[in-house]
C-alpha cells in the first residue's frame, strides 16, 4: 500500500506518474537537445548522457512513488584525448544534474593537480578542502586526474589529496559530484593503483576522437559563431590541412581546430591591412581565402615529416 507523499504532492495518492510530464517538467529535454545540436559527433557520449539522464529521471519518479533506493552514485570519469569536448560535456552534465535536482547549484569548478596539492607538509589538506567547499552544490571537474598519483615518489602529497577527495566522495554524495577527466590509458592505470577511487565511480564515459568530416563541421560551426566563413577553395584547403595536421603529434582535436582558425583570422586581418587602399565590404571582412589556409606551417613541413608543435 502506497502512502500519500505530502513532501512532493498534495493530491491524494501517488500511484501513477507520467514519465513524459516529468521529463517535460524537469526541463532536461532542452539540455539534451542543446547537447545534440551544439556538439558535433560524439555519438557514444550523447548516448551515454541520455542513459544517465533516463536513469536519474526514473530514479526521481521511483523516489516519489516511495520505491526509494540508495541515491545513485553520480561520480563520473570522462576519458578521451585532448579537445574532444570533455569540459563542455561536463558543463552540460552539471546543468542536467541541476535540473533533475541532484545538485543544488549546478556550477562547475574545474581544477587540476596544482589546485589540490600543496607544496609543503600541511598545505595540501586545506587547499583540497577549500576546493571541495567551493565545488559543493555543483560539480568538481578534475582535469588530468592521474597526476594526483605519482607512483615514483612515495612522499608526494597527491595521495593526501586523493584521501580527502575519497572521504568527501563517499560521505557527501548529496553535496557534490566529482568528474575525473584525462587520457584513457592513464586514467585506467590511475584507477588500478587507486581502487578506492575506481570503485566509487559509477559512470565511465569515453570520448572518441573526431573524424575528419566532424572536424570540418566543427570548424564551420566555430567560424559561423565568429561571423567568418571559408570560400570554396579555402574549405578544400582546410580539409587537406586537417588531414596533414592529424598525422602530426600534439593534435588536440577541436582545440587545434580553434587555434588554427585563430591563426587564419590573423592572416586574413594582415591581408586586409596590407590591401587597405580600397574600401571593404562586410563580405571582404568575413571571408577567409585559400592563401590564409595554405600559409600554415603544417603544409610546409608535410613533406619533411618534421615534428610540429601546437602553435604552428
Amino acid at each position: 500500500m502506497l502512502q500519500p507523499d505530502d513532501a512532493h504532492d498534495t493530491s491524494a495518492e501517488v500511484t501513477r506518474v507520467d514519465l513524459g510530464a516529468e521529463y517535460e517538467a524537469s526541463g532536461i529535454g532542452e539540455v539534451l537537445d542543446a547537447l545534440d545540436r551544439d556538439l558535433v559527433g560524439l555519438e557514444p557520449v550523447k548516448r551515454r548522457v541520455r542513459e544517465i539522464a533516463a536513469l536519474l529521471l526514473v530514479e526521481r519518479v521511483r523516489d516519489r512513488m516511495g520505491l526509494a533506493a540508495e541515491p545513485p552514485s553520480l561520480h563520473m570519469s570522462f576519458t578521451g584525448n585532448p579537445g574532444t569536448g570533455k569540459t563542455t560535456v561536463a558543463m552540460r552534465m552539471a546543468e542536467m544534474l541541476h535540473r533533475l535536482g541532484y545538485v543544488r547549484k549546478g556550477h562547475v569548478v574545474a581544477v587540476t593537480r596544482d589546485d589540490l596539492v600543496g607544496q609543503y607538509i600541511g598545505h595540501t589538506a586545506p587547499k583540497t578542502k577549500d576546493v571541495l567547499k567551493r565545488a559543493m552544490g555543483g560539480v568538481l571537474f578534475i582535469d588530468e586526474a592521474y597526476y594526483l598519483h605519482r607512483p615514483e615518489n612515495e612522499k608526494d602529497y597527491g595521495q593526501e589529496a586523493i584521501e580527502i577527495l575519497l572521504q568527501v566522495m563517499e560521505n557527501q554524495r548529496d553535496d557534490l559530484v566529482v568528474i575525473l577527466a584525462g587520457y584513457k590509458d592513464r586514467m585506467e592505470s590511475f584507477f588500478e593503483s587507486n581502487p578506492g577511487i575506481g570503485s566509487r565511480i559509477a559512470h565511465h564515459v569515453e570520448f572518441p576522437d573526431y573524424t575528419g568530416d566532424e572536424l570540418l563541421a566543427i570548424a564551420s560551426k566555430m567560424l559561423a559563431e565568429m561571423n567568418y566563413r571559408f570560400d570554396a577553395e579555402a574549405q578544400a584547403a582546410f580539409a587537406e590541412y586537417l588531414h596533414e595536421r592529424r598525422a602530426q603529434p600534439h593534435f588536440a582535436n577541436a582545440r587545434s581546430v580553434r587555434n588554427a582558425l585563430d591563426r587564419m583570422r590573423m592572416r586574413q586581418a594582415l591581408r586586409l591591412f596590407e590591401e587597405r587602399d580600397h574600401a571593404l565590404s562586410a563580405e571582404d571582412l568575413s571571408v577567409i581565402r585559400e592563401p590564409e589556409v595554405r600559409a600554415s606551417r603544417v603544409f610546409a613541413s608535410a613533406d619533411e615529416t618534421g615534428t610540429e608543435t601546437e602553435g604552428a
Binding site: R104, K105, H107, P126, D130, L132, K133, R134, M136, G137, G138, Q172, D175, L176
Partner: protein, 143 residues
C-alpha cells in the same frame, strides 16, 4: 544568563536547517563567511578565535556547514558564531553575525563596582565563566 550577541540571539537557537538557510542568504549576496569560536563571552570581546580562514567563492552552504560541525565537534562547550563579510564597500565589513552554538550552561556576569575619587562609582562586568579558569577550562565539558 543567556548572552545575546549578534543577530537572532533573542530567538530560540536556530536549527541546522535554519542556519543553512541563513548561510544560503549570505552566499546569494556574495558575502564571505567565516566560523569563529570563543569561551570568553564578554560583550567587548570582539575578536574571537578564527576556525580557519574566511571562506570565499562558495556557492553552497554545505561547505560552511561542514566547518560549523567540525568546529562544534572540537569545541563542544564554547560559543561558536558565523560572520558574513560584505566586500562591496571596498573593505570586508561584517554584514551578519550570529551564534550557532553556546555552552550548555551560561553562568552570566558579575557586576564590579569601584570607588573613584569624589565618591564616583565605576562599573564593570566580569564573566563568572572566565573567572573559573584559563581559556579552554571555563565551561564544563559537554555530556
Amino acid at each position: 544568563m543567556r548572552i545575546t550577541q549578534g543577530a537572532f540571539s533573542f530567538l530560540p537557537d536556530l536549527t541546522d536547517d535554519e542556519i543553512r538557510m541563513q548561510l544560503e542568504y549570505c552566499l546569494e549576496h556574495g558575502w564571505a563567511v567565516s566560523v569563529e569560536y570563543t569561551d570568553d563571552p564578554h560583550p567587548r570581546n570582539t575578536y574571537w578565535e578564527m576556525w580557519g580562514l574566511p571562506m570565499f567563492d562558495l556557492r553552497d552552504a554545505a561547505g560552511i556547514m561542514a566547518e560549523v560541525h567540525a568546529c562544534r565537534a572540537t569545541h563542544r562547550n564554547a560559543y561558536v558564531r558565523v560572520s558574513a563579510f560584505d566586500a562591496s564597500r571596498g573593505v570586508e565589513s561584517v554584514a551578519l553575525s550570529f551564534i550557532v552554538q553556546r555552552p550548555a550552561e551560561e553562568p552570566g556576569f558579575q557586576l564590579l563596582r569601584q570607588e573613584g575619587p569624589d565618591r564616583t562609582q565605576r562599573y564593570s562586568i566580569v564573566s563568572y565563566a572566565v573567572q573559573r579558569g584559563p581559556e579552554g577550562d571555563r565551561y564544563a565539558p559537554a555530556g
